[in-house]
Subunit: 155 residues, 2 copies
DNA sequence: CTGCTGGCTTCGAATGCTGAAGTTAGATGG
DNA sequence: CCATCTAACTTCAGCATTCGAAGCCAGCAG
């Protein structure tokens, strides 16, 4: 069974994009990874409409990527903030990989507006692909794809 | 200048998503990485409408992620096929990182429908973040973010 | 009890997606 | 040399999503 003959219905990339691939979702996660937690901060910084923001936050919470927590500032009523869960933070390698591509191909001549570095040595980060035995970094030519255990023919 | 005060206008993640973040774009790139090259194969396998497919292919070619090449099957007229460029293949780490997340959180109980392994040792791949001096794999807690050279205040 | 603020919801207009039908260029068959 | 077929589009009507703006609501300050 080759790729063209296998169903995409249970493709894990596709399912991932159903959760985070809508417009704005990954930008909200980007902001959440940079410490943004409140509705109004998301709205102003990411720059989307309030209706869509409310919808996306609801979906990301339903997906287990964000969770809400109550907070209270002195002299204000309690409110809810949005934080990344473990599952949400597990998107970090993907976010860094997208940022790395953008840094290379879309940055202004001076460089990117945000830098992420190793806190110990101060060197910039790279997303690399290795195998389970730590051979690598690997290129696409060093990889082979096979049908997996749940590969099904296309209807 | 903290993150909430910096403009997202030149954010490299945002610019990346402007190129590949539309619905279907990353799925087309997924298929291209698996060897799909023709209009009709994309249409049938990815399952999107022809109008949108034509638009996405045009945009991905304009972005330098795909390029067209003439091909000719015996007994047919010459046609054009779509292939990933180097720039397109550079999205591979991001694609693997998204697939890895999907494999962990969205796969059927038996596993994913597609497996990617190191061709030398046969072990499955992992997307990891390292620093330029190869410390790693790193977690988000071991990273620090700073404003980069093109950080600008939000208007 | 009046106003203010954060966090939404509602609404009309604009944009985007879908499925189906139509178009075009070059084989191929009669 | 005319009709047919096919891959690769384009056009179109209807539906869904997104946008910007406005409105609503709860609780706190004055």
């Amino acid at each position: 069974m080759n790729w063209l003959e296998t169903s995409t219905e249970n493709c894990t990339v596709q399912r991932t994009l159903e959760l985070v691939g809508e417009k704005w979702s990954l930008l909200l996660i980007r902001d959440a990874m940079n410490g943004v937690r409140r509705f109004d901060d998301f709205r102003r910084h990411v720059g989307l409409s309030e209706a869509v923001l409310a919808d996306r936050l609801r979906k990301l919470v339903a997906a287990g990527i964000l969770e809400t927590a109550a907070y209270r500032e002195p002299g204000s009523r309690t409110r809810r903030e949005y934080r990344l869960t473990r599952k949400g933070w597990d998107l970090w390698p993907a976010m860094i990989a997208l940022k790395q591509w953008g840094d290379r191909y879309t940055a202004d001549p001076e460089g990117p507006p945000l830098e992420v570095r190793h806190s110990d040595c101060g060197e910039p980060l790279r997303a690399v692909i290795v195998c389970a035995e730590d051979h690598g970094p690997l290129t696409p030519r060093q990889a082979r794809t096979h049908p997996g255990p749940s590969a099904r023919p296309r209807s």
